[in-house]
């Protein structure tokens, strides 16, 4: 007889690998339908529902590679990268890379378009937090502004690519007009976040990227500014800060004691 932990381990292996161990088959009541086929119903449900879930997160990738190829890759991804949690809108971060690998050379941009879709999806679902206004800064003595650590909204994420992924994403929206996009037209650096309930993004210059990346890393403002000023001595730190506050991207301000 099979103890419950082993039974469940064998069952999980069968769902993921497609191979049903003899001792698992023996644990299933004999019937006109073979034990492996009965487990196959669960395996099929696992693969179909996770393919659907990845399709909801990555509709543009699905449009770019076609439904059939997407489904094949999604099924394989589900088996090799099963979800760690039942919250499926958080599932599939590594799928774009896996899809791009399967698509072969010449399709590297697929991974980057997927990274942008992931950021949009993440921003759509991220936890709520109340934005903090720039006026909060006035309560902190000016001489300590350099020590401030900003906490950006939980949705905030950077996407950097050498391909025009935002244009590709836009051209593949349901209501988009027919467009031809040159893959070599130039890359993107964008910050994606949620302002209220709206997912938004903003293109960043090289020094702005350095600034925002440091802020996301919870560096002090002085260090974030230094990172940007190293690239461009004329960097407007005040302007960059105002943009973050005005866009509702700042969720908290703290001062190390």
């Amino acid at each position: 007889m099979h103890a419950l932990p082993e039974l469940q381990m064998d069952f999980a292996d069968s769902v993921l690998s497609g191979v049903t161990a003899d001792r698992l088959a023996d644990a299933i009541r004999p019937s006109p339908i073979a034990a492996a086929d009965r487990i196959g119903i669960y395996r099929n449900h696992f693969a179909i529902t996770l393919t659907e879930s990845l399709g909801i997160t990555y509709p543009v990738l699905k449009a770019l590679v076609g439904e059939r190829f997407f489904a094949q890759c999604a099924r394989r991804y589900a088996q090799t990268h099963p979800p760690r949690s039942p919250v499926l809108f958080e599932y599939g971060r590594a799928f774009p890379v896996s899809l791009a690998d399967a698509a072969g050379s010449g399709f590297a941009y697929i991974a980057d378009v997927g990274a942008f879709e992931w950021a949009v999806n993440h921003a759509y679902h991220a936890d709520d937090s109340l934005p903090v206004g720039a006026s909060t800064l006035a309560r902190i003595p000016a001489e300590r502004h350099g020590d401030i650590v900003l906490e950006l909204h939980a949705s905030a994420q950077l996407v950097i690519s050498r391909y025009p992924v935002v244009d590709i994403w836009r051209a593949n929206q349901p209501d988009a007009a027919e467009a031809t996009i040159d893959l070599d037209a130039g890359g993107v650096r964008v910050l994606v976040w949620r302002n209220g309930i709206d997912v938004v993004w903003q293109s960043l210059t090289q020094p702005e990227l350095a600034f925002v990346a440091a802020v996301l890393d919870r560096s002090a403002l002085i260090d974030a500014c230094t990172a940007a000023l190293t690239i461009d001595p004329t960097f407007d730190a005040g302007g960059a800060l105002r943009n973050l506050f005005a866009g509702g991207a700042v969720a908290g301000i703290s001062l190390p004691t």
Binding site: Q8, A12, S31, I33, I41, P86, A123, Y124
Partner: protein, 292 residues
């Protein structure tokens, strides 16, 4: 084990429907005459638009929070972080009912995205009872446990499913969510008498009934029903529902539809049909006819 069981909100008398993303706007604008809405807990464990829609809908209807990912039958325990998220959602939504499944879905760190079958033994009863107790403690309230649709039976599974649920009720103070479609699907797939199943459930513990459609398939030439929630409730399930709704006087009914989700009106029509059959089955059909 003892669990703090909170009194729940007054029971809706009309059937409800599952709240699905495509109806988020429609339901708040058209305010259909339904008794409650049910959400899949895991779809609302973030913020943004989904939660904003839920906030608007919950101002209009009592809510049932239906979890699919707790994996109460997992022998290796379940993910405490997930239960914390469920508890946070329940605290925020203040639902009339909270439910989960008599099933397992993996182990901590592995989620197989399905309600996988358990053998019904004294040992698995210990496992499920301990997990139900932990969830009820974390949520500080009673949860209802739903019977799953089954596609296989284990050779060593001596306890009939309704008896297993009854024992769970006695040991944990949980309630039962009786999915009438699942009873029918399991009985067709594995052999069993659905009427006897309903008669074997403890009537006072059943707080909610689920209705949904299924699809008939054949595997190796043998007919098999798949519980895909993608079509209207079948006649056979409606008949069984009439028996269930007469027997379970404290239960509220909910229509589930998850695949190829139709117009809101179709779901409301199914809920109205459930109300009509409930009135007849519970014996107030004549009074209603006179009033009309």
């Amino acid at each position: 084990m003892m669990t703090a069981v909170s009194p729940t909100a007054a029971h809706p008398t009309k059937a409800g429907i599952g709240l699905r993303a495509r109806h988020h706007v429609d339901i708040v604008e058209s305010r259909p005459d339904i008794g409650l809405i049910e959400i899949h807990a895991e779809n609302y464990m973030g913020g943004g638009i989904p939660l904003a829609h839920l906030e608007r809908a919950r101002a209009l209807y009592p809510v049932s929070v239906h979890g699919v990912g707790a994996s109460l039958g997992s022998a290796n325990g379940f993910d405490p972080a997930h239960i914390e998220r469920l508890a946070a959602l329940v605290e925020r939504v203040e639902p009339a009912l909270v439910s989960e499944h008599l099933a397992w879905s993996g182990s901590p760190g592995l989620y197989l995205n399905d309600l996988l079958p358990l053998p019904y033994t004294e040992h698995s009863l210990d496992v499920v009872a301990a997990n139900v107790g932990r969830v009820q403690d974390a949520l500080k309230r009673q949860i209802l446990i739903e019977n799953p649709s089954l596609y296989l039976a284990y050779a060593d599974s001596p306890v009939p499913e309704p008896d297993f649920l009854g024992a769970l009720v006695r040991r944990t103070g949980c309630g039962v969510l009786c999915d009438v479609n699942n009873i029918y699907v399991s009985c067709v797939n594995l052999g069993g008498n659905p009427v006897a199943y309903i008669d074997a459930l403890p009537p006072e513990a059943v707080r909610e009934l689920h209705l949904a459609g299924h699809t008939a398939k054949r595997i190796d030439g043998v007919p098999l029903l798949i519980d895909d929630h993608g079509s209207p409730v079948t006649d056979a399930v409606w008949s069984l529902y009439e028996r269930a709704v007469a027997r379970f006087a404290n239960a509220v009914t909910l229509i589930e539809w998850d695949t190829d989700v139709p117009e809101l009106a179709t779901l409301i029509g199914e809920a109205a049909e459930a109300d009509r059959r409930a009135r007849t089955a519970r014996g107030s059909g004549d009074a209603d006819a006179r009033a009309a």
